[in-house]
Amino acid sequence: MIFKRLTLALLASALAVSAATAQSDPAPLRIVTSFDIGTMNPAVDGFWMQEFGVAELLMKFYPDGTNQPWLLESLENKDALTWVATVRDGITFQNGKVLDADAVLAVIKRQMAVSDSATGAVPEGTTFVKTGNMEITISTVAPWPELPGILSNEAIFLIYDAEAADAVGDDWTKLTNAGIYTGPYTVTSLTSARLDAERNDSYWNGEPALPGLSVSFVTDPNARILAVQNDEADIALYPPIAARPVVDATPGIHFNTGTTGTGGFLGFMNVNQPPFDDVRVRQALMQTIDYDEIANVVFGGALAEAKGLYNESFPWARQTYVTDPTAAAALLDEAGWLLDGDMRRKDGEALELKVVIYPQQPDLVPLSGALQAQVRKLGIGVKIQSVDDVYAALGKGGVDWDLGISSEGTVSWGVTSPFLTRYLGPAGNRNFASYANPEVHALIAELKVTVDTTRRDEILGRIQDILVSEDPYVFAFNIHKGRVVVNETYAGYEPGFALYHVSPTTAPSPAQ
């Protein structure tokens, strides 16, 4: 009898504990995204893993434009050619292996052997040497100011167990459940349709808030939103801005925007032919555009207003953009483009811009429409052409264009020189109009080897000034913001900055 009572009491208490646990533990987070994760190969597809809380990096890029240690304890610039990286103590991979200088060096060595991104990012002659159990000294031939950003870049030196990755040969499926990363969630399954991960109970930075998560790969944006609406997902990434009115009118789901990001819709002016061979017309266009209207009226605040080429939170950002139609009209008059009826003409030719957009970015349709309306007030016509491949169209042998618009990142995890080199540099493969400003080219070259932050900010500031007042070529229509569609459970979820969608603290929003 006593034994029976004892058993019942134990059973009751076990049920109570299990009920309490079930109450305190939220359900696994369900994300639906547009991109699929092809394999468990860390060098090729590993970068997705840091976006969903599986993998981590040595450094992290923050919304204020700085790079701060993540898996590192510190990263110090000892002299112009030497950096010392100290690995944070007490971190293990999900498989239990300790993260130390050897483990980090193994990843660097492996990435340099198998990843083009890593090979391309590290200057020739750079050495990584173990100088302590948790310390690595990085020596370079020339100053390497962008190292903190390189170590924050998900595609370059993501931290994983290199030994475990080598051991599986080409059979990447063996890395499922192998715990090769250090993040709060461990991958348990990866198919062509979905990734599943569970909580890493030995996570170094506190207990992860969720028991696990799933990431479903769905290319169709409408289906992603409907999945949230139908309670099959909590968060839909990358919804089109055009969906916002529908989402706002649908009960139970929300369109959330996040911190201002690192790129925007950029306009490239063809400086090789009229009308943009005249600097005054370029200046006039930039002063005609109403950046506030584009961000806050046309896109309803889903984009941030461009006050300059860069996100205004970054220390080097200059707020150089001004909307002044009167000054723009004066510049056009001065350049000889005079009003004739409702159009501006010069030597009998109407001022009509050939604008190139592309269908992969549906938001370019309302943007180019807004541009058309704004410049029309000053007597400038716009002829919009949508092309299949914007880079091919703007390049050599492409279409006849005056203004090309494309979505671009201007800062790559804190690193500024790649965008400038590629789009404005003398040998840049996306310098569409062969922009050739000797001072800008010299400044880019100097930026690449300048470690001093103050001087770097000065260089970037000067480039921004030139691109507005002296020799405009590229400008931002807006600065992008992260955006998601969420259900009531995640109503308070803010889209992650720099693609950090899931952190250890990501959790359902507190009940209202």
Partner: protein, 311 residues
């Protein structure tokens, strides 16, 4: 009969060969340097000369075009559809992983649409001019006019989300195939019903059907024994010819219903200009079309002795 079938087979092989020329030409005739496109798709934005030269040699792009085609065809015959620019994996392997889900969807859709068209056409002819016929005619007109993807979007919005039937996120299992298959099937059956109805009416107005009726045969007997066998040939041909369109249209439906078949893979390939994948898909649907046409020809010859003597 055997000679005729062999003749048809030879025609089918020639058609398939012609299709391979067009499929192969996708790569060399598309604008821009394929080497740069491949490197760009592999996120190598600023390749060095060695990377460019290695890839050019690997793809044999310096060889004359006819030789490139012959080499490509040789690899295709051996089952080598090259490697996806985007994922770096063999195209055949990637298609093979996704093909079962697509075949399940298309097979169910095809069966649904053929059965539906048969039933509706028979009902329509049996009750010609009365309300079932009018309702079916209205359906065929709406179905023929409405693009499948619009129908799919309506089904997703109002049936799945609105009425709570089925799921938005498909798992690719048989339990969830019915809704997308029905969407394709109901839409596809509309045109086929119109065609079969017209053929059946023509057969029912023929002398042999009138004689049968004059002898006292029932409406259903005449329809099933005389009308259907004679009206079926144009219907079968239409079904065979539509196989290519069915495969070609499936990616959009798969995309809308998040069906994990070839659809998303192909759309991503199109977006990334992943030509080996596009080539693989077009080749597959082209060959499926040629094979279906050949089978329809053979079946038609078996069903209709006149076709055997005429050819």
């Amino acid at each position: 009969m055997a000679v005729l079938i062999l003749k048809r087979l030879a025609q089918a092989v020639l058609t398939a060969l012609a299709a391979t020329v067009i499929v192969w030409a996708l790569l060399p005739l598309s604008p821009g340097d394929p080497v740069m496109r491949i490197l760009e798709a592999r996120f190598i934005h600023e390749p060095n000369d060695l990377q460019i030269a290695n890839l050019r040699a690997e793809l044999a792009l310096d060889e004359p075009l006819p030789l490139q085609y012959v080499q490509w065809l040789g690899r295709v015959v051996q089952g080598d559809l090259s490697v996806s620019y985007r994922t770096g994996k063999p195209v055949l392997e990637e298609i093979g992983q996704r093909l079962p889900a697509t075949l399940m969807l298309l097979g169910t859709a095809l069966a649904t649409s053929v059965i539906l068209a048969l039933i509706l056409a028979l009902i329509s002819v049996a009750w010609r001019g009365r309300w079932p016929d009018r309702v079916i005619l209205l359906y065929t007109q709406i179905g023929s006019a409405l693009p499948t993807f619009v129908f799919a979007l309506l089904v997703l919005q109002y049936v799945v989300v609105g009425a709570g039937v089925g799921r938005v996120l498909s798992s690719g299992t048989f339990a969830l195939v019915l809704l997308p298959a029905l969407t394709i099937g109901v839409d596809r059956a509309a045109g086929w019903t119109q065609l079969l109805r017209a053929s059946l009416l023509q057969a029912m107005n023929s002398n042999f059907a009138q004689v049968a009726r004059a002898r006292g045969a029932s409406r259903w007997f005449v329809l099933s024994r005389h009308g259907l066998p004679n009206g079926l040939l144009p219907f079968l041909t239409a079904v065979g010819v539509s196989i290519g369109a069915l495969i070609g249209g499936a990616p959009i439906i798969e995309e809308i219903f998040t069906w994990p078949g070839l659809g998303r893979y192909l759309l991503q390939a199109l977006s990334a200009r992943d030509f080996p994948v596009i080539q693989g898909f077009v080749l597959l649907s082209g060959l499926a079309y040629v094979a279906a046409s050949f089978l329809v020809d053979v079946v038609a010859m078996l069903l209709d002795p006149r076709l055997r003597s005429a050819r």
